[in-house]
């Protein structure tokens, strides 16, 4: 009985946390939807533990808890892969933005007719090019 209450409390707590994050706009709905479904499933299992037993019986799993672990691992794996792909997409998008910023800023500075560095180049940068060469030819 105590364990059921603990599970219930945990599920309710995370559901509440998620709801608050969602309301504050700190988690997008497309990411939260999955977690809300998971939270609901945990509440369901906490209230009716026999559900898991019946499900395990039906699936032919001897220990119901193994079914739970299996499903949980699959779910977490799926979420990780989803996050990796979202991260890659974001990196691609920021890459495009970085390129565009560079292209635009070069264009602006060309139009303004000045170099992009604020300070004028120091004296040792005078075009005596081969003096700068550190290594032998």
């Amino acid at each position: 009985m105590i364990t059921r209450l603990v599970f219930l409390a945990v599920a309710v707590f995370f559901g509440f946390l998620l709801f608050r994050l969602l309301r504050a706009g700190r988690v997008r709905e497309k990411y939260a939807a999955l977690w809300i479904v998971v939270g609901a499933a945990i509440i369901l299992l906490a209230v009716w533990p026999n559900l898991l037993n019946n499900l395990a019986d039906w699936a032919g799993v001897v220990l119901p808890v193994n079914l739970l672990f299996f499903l949980a691992i699959i779910l977490l794996l799926g979420v990780s892969i989803h996050l990796s792909s979202e991260l890659s997409r974001l990196e691609d998008e920021t890459r495009v933005l970085a390129e565009r910023v560079a292209l635009l800023s070069l264009q602006v500075h060309t139009l303004e007719g000045g170099p992009q560095t604020e300070a004028p180049p120091p004296e040792e940068l005078e075009p005596t090019e081969h003096a700068q060469e550190p290594a032998a030819e």
Partner: protein, 251 residues
């Protein structure tokens, strides 16, 4: 009289302040007709100041994107500014400027021209896993392209406008994306490749690694990159819009 083609020399640079001045000066002396673009890949040293001091245009990326990232930005610049062809050259002086004309001449017969180290000139040799990687890559690319390609990881390569457009669409920023993946995807999109023998000069910034462990990792990563690029769905190359093939885009 203006040169027959507008050519851009594209140089990705990340903290190359020690060598970039002399490399640019030499390029300017050897190929005065070509425009120079340095793509600064988030350098923290004086790369930008030195590049600007030698008169090159500098495209400054706000943070480090890697070689592939820097190059794609440069290809976009070349394409959008109406250049007919672009050639990428290393900032460390490894690529001999006197060979640029030879590599560019390869574009008369193909969309992409690669300056290759193993094609008879120079004395560049490798062995062990690094050599196996070279054999694997050259075998796969020779089959795909239908012409003999022996040094596909060479960074000394030129592109015409058609290839520039292709590169602006697909040029991965990851390891080997700038050589293996982008080239294989271009070939599979129907672009043609040719290789031109060149001699490379020793790098100014130290020797390439000869550790067998690193070479083995390189082999695995090359094979993986190849696998990804070769199994990806083919996308036909984009057609160049008529209006931008002429030189009216530039003043």
């Amino acid at each position: 009289m203006p040169p027959a083609h507008r050519t851009l020399i594209l140089m990705p640079a990340w903290n190359e302040g020690a060598v970039i001045g002399s490399t640019l000066a030499e390029l300017h002396a050897v190929v005065p007709d070509a425009d120079l673009l340095v793509v600064d890949d988030g350098s923290t040293d004086d790369t930008v100041a030195r590049a600007e001091a030698s008169g090159a245009a500098v495209l400054r990326l706000p943070y480090n994107l890697g070689v592939g990232g820097a190059l794609r930005a440069g290809f976009k610049y070349a394409y959008e500014n109406g250049y007919d062809r672009a050639i990428q050259v290393d900032a460390d002086g490894q690529h001999d400027p006197t060979q640029i004309e030879a590599v560019l001449a390869g574009l008369d017969h193909a969309d992409i021209s690669i300056g290759a180290r193993f094609a008879g000139e120079g004395d560049y040799t490798v062995h062990g896993p690094r050599r196996w990687a070279m054999v694997l890559l050259s075998g796969a690319f020779t089959r795909a392209a239908g012409v003999k390609l022996t040094d596909v990881t060479s960074g000394f390569r030129a592109a015409n406008r058609r290839a520039l457009l292709q590169y602006t669409r697909h040029y991965p920023a990851e390891y080997l994306g700038d050589t293996v993946d982008s080239l294989m995807t271009a070939i599979r999109s129907g672009l043609t490749v040719v290789q031109v023998p060149v001699a490379m000069r020793p790098r100014q910034g130290g020797e390439p690694s000869h550790s067998p462990g690193k070479a083995a990792i390189y082999l695995v990563r090359s094979a993986f990159s190849l696998l990804i690029a070769m199994t990806r769905r083919r996308t036909p190359a984009l057609e160049l819009p008529e209006s931008t093939t002429t030189r009216e885009a530039s003043a």
